[in-house]
Symmetry: D2
Subunit: 285 residues, 4 copies
């Protein structure tokens, strides 16, 4: 696998951006292997994701960011991020007691489906320690009470920093994470909510769905922001139910949805295909 | 097509109901051609829909209701409804300005897809009068203002009564119907709401969905109750969208959803396959 | 609505194409309002759709094709097509006896959903003449027998030519169209097949699906080629069924699928968002 | 959890069956907690699944089968099966090299999602031995060549018999099982085929789907019969793809489908909710 650079950017839409950026890469002998762009005509914002092979690229990897910032980002008032394929993102998983999402994440990791490292799992309970051990991933238990929460999260963040964690996946983690944690990982904490948001925000959504008598239930994966279940949505999916489905059936059908939806969102994040703008996501394909 | 009786009932669940009801029909030489039952184990309620041919049935059609009430409904504290296949339900359509649902309903009606009569269309605007005329259905215009609403609805109800209307379909009718109207047609007014309820109740749901950045939009058909968009849900469906979809795209994709979801709900209602219990529906298959 | 040019092209992938084409438009003061591109890495082919406003564009509309061919198409060995928004495509509908797709197409046309003209409807039966009349579209009846087929099609093509028809929609037209007709409208005859192709090619697919006991049925819209039901697929969709669904239920559920799938395909075609390459389609979004 | 009896049956449809069977249970003080029936009006066959609590049932469990056969099965020419909830079915998993389905099955097993025992895993390769060990399930390797296949299958069947295996799940097992094996487990070998059957029977369906340019791919779980990929379908599902998806994307999206579809089918089988009749399934809900 050849090393590549992945550039994600957005800026006010103006003629010529796309031509200039592709030209910069082509002229410097980069072989573009992916390009997707989007113009938000309401906000008048241009979004782009471009990936190119570095083998013959004339600008050394460590200087690309600086060059690009100087030559283009200033001119076009761009926000941009640059990633290299040879640097695997490092992901921490937070869990509580339910195992289905954790198993799904670890099975994919073990099977080599994803280009990612998982240096640790953090939990407020010990129930899933055996699962972590079975997959050989260090498991850290931080019991959370109302009193010790802030303090425990400080310790968690230290641990995350030590392990060079880039982003966090809340795999049915049954604790609201604090503003400090969110500030430390802005648009880098991925949650799975077990409803079709914005319907049934908060606790016990399957019970609420059952009460309401809906004919379809859903799951939503989103970045965590300070407002509960209101962050930018990355992925959603649904499944049909009938009056014959009891709450336990909803829970079971929901579990299958949750793990697939969460894993799709995590994959998109790992592949650097998500851009957040004003509480909404652009998902490059 | 042979004439049949369709019986829908519910009652507290007890052993023997199903056996007794089927026995009543079989012993009297009715040929059962449909049976579906459901037990709600939370509420402990038994639901049933049964249909049988009347050709050799020993109880004359006009006496079935009385016999059944006396012999079984009392004993089991049943709520029940009896319908005959040779009696077509009569449906009124209420519209405003959008034509997609109306066209879909009238195309099915004209093609003979449904066993129903549509004696009239009522509208608070004149925009769709040409559509009604094209299909040869009488069109009645009742302009609605805040001041005349109660009065106009009285006239509408008179007209509906004159035409022997059994149920009403709000095909993107952009007026909240009054409590009096709802009381006159309890669980007999079918609405289509252009969102995946309970998300985005009320006006402009596609705009709200766009704002929120959801990845799936939906449509919901439900019986109208006095609480806005909160009645028993009959049918829902969804379609996937992306960040590339602008509000106009949502409106367009939504239209296709709305008409199909509404028509599915109307079909279920016409076929007498919907039973309402405590703001939820049992949909027999 | 401002006039725009829509350019669809493909060519062997090489660096710089995208930059050059966008540059051509930008430099000549065209305001790009849409751009989507795709690289097929198996075939090494570059695909692109670009749309720009003509208001201030320096090259007069009637010369764009010539300029583009000379300056770029030759150099990059491009196949390309140029369309102008102010020129509505002209579509003929072929039908037989089933009305659901026809009603759906005409309802959209009447409601102004599509930027298209429908100058005529052609049928091998007279059943749907009243529908055509209801919508005010000229209806032409060409009875087809094995003996007169070639001859009748010649007359049909003359009629199509007289009306300046650009493309044909087979809305459940129950006749195989000849090679001559296909040659006259290459990748311009859109069919709806009532199965999830390539499953159940040919006649009576719902019966075949019922026999096989599938749990999902589908519909497929594709361009007609000389091999039956094997042309480039534009759109497909599916719906779930159960063992309780009899053939008539499949037919009914299928009808809803067919009309929606066909209309989605027709919309994509009208919007010039479909490019055919080697019996497959690129569908720009 | 109280012990229950689950009875599945079919027979020629005649009046009174349902009433008699439910009566038998009710009279003998069995509490019916589940009942679903279906009449195939084409074949004129009655299907039924009924489940009741045994706590106060007057007929001792070990005699129910005999009583039922004598009193009803003869009279109505029924085929029937009786299961008890306190007896867990025993399932063997056959795998080759791909891990996604195996992980999904074992995760559910470990989490206690299913009422089943998995005494062993059999494979024609050793690749997945570490996965089996991680979950603590005995793993048996039987290398298969054209020459030794019959002989190895004899040994496999001995092993399955020793472990009291009731049914087999082929979790992407890349070997055609022999007629002898199928005869030993009729309608008890569940396969997952990675296409939307009957499209793309046989090897490399994703490649075939890519070639054909379909817009939706699927997965199908079915009972294995002697005709390849032609057995009774238990469950199917699909996912949308676009021209941008390369074969690798199809493989990835397909994996998620396959594991969910297979697990849904296995759940239905474990819950005794599948009845096979003439190469089609009745799936009780």
């Amino acid at each position: 696998m050849k090393n590549t650079a992945k550039l994600l950017l957005y800026c006010p839409d103006r003629p010529g951006i796309l031509a200039e950026v592709t030209d910069f890469i082509t002229v410097n002998k980069g072989n573009i292997i992916y390009l997707d762009q989007h113009v938000d005509r309401v906000e008048n914002v241009f979004f782009m994701r471009i990936e190119w092979e570095l083998e013959h690229f004339l600008v050394p990897p460590e200087k690309i960011e600086d060059y690009f910032a100087t030559l283009y980002a200033q001119k076009y008032r761009m926000s941009f991020r640059l990633y290299f394929a040879d640097k695997k993102p490092r992901m921490a998983i937070f869990v509580s007691k339910l195992s289905h999402c954790l198993f799904d994440l670890l099975a994919r990791y073990t099977a080599g489906e994803w280009h990612v490292e998982i240096p640790l799992i953090i939990s407020n309970h010990t129930d899933l320690q055996p699962v972590a051990e079975r997959f050989g991933i260090p498991f850290h238990h931080f019991e959370i009470t109302r009193e010790n929460k802030a303090e425990q999260e400080v310790r968690e963040r230290e641990l995350l920093a030590q392990h060079g964690v880039n982003f966090i996946v809340l795999a049915r983690y049954m604790q609201v994470v604090s503003e400090e944690m969110i500030a430390a990982y802005p648009n880098r904490i991925i949650n799975i909510h077990h409803s079709f948001l914005p319907a049934f925000v908060g606790a016990k959504p399957y019970h609420a769905a059952f009460e309401r008598g809906v004919k379809i239930i859903g799951a939503t994966s989103h970045y965590v922001t300070t407002e509960l279940d209101a962050g930018p949505i990355i992925e959603q999916d649904v499944v049909r139910i009938t009056h014959k489905d009891e709450i336990e059936d909803l829970l079971n059908k929901g579990k299958d949805l949750e793990k697939i939806v969460l894993s799709r969102a995590v994959r998109k994040h790992i592949e650097r295909k998500v851009l957040v703008y004003k509480n909404k996501t652009v998902i490059f394909n």
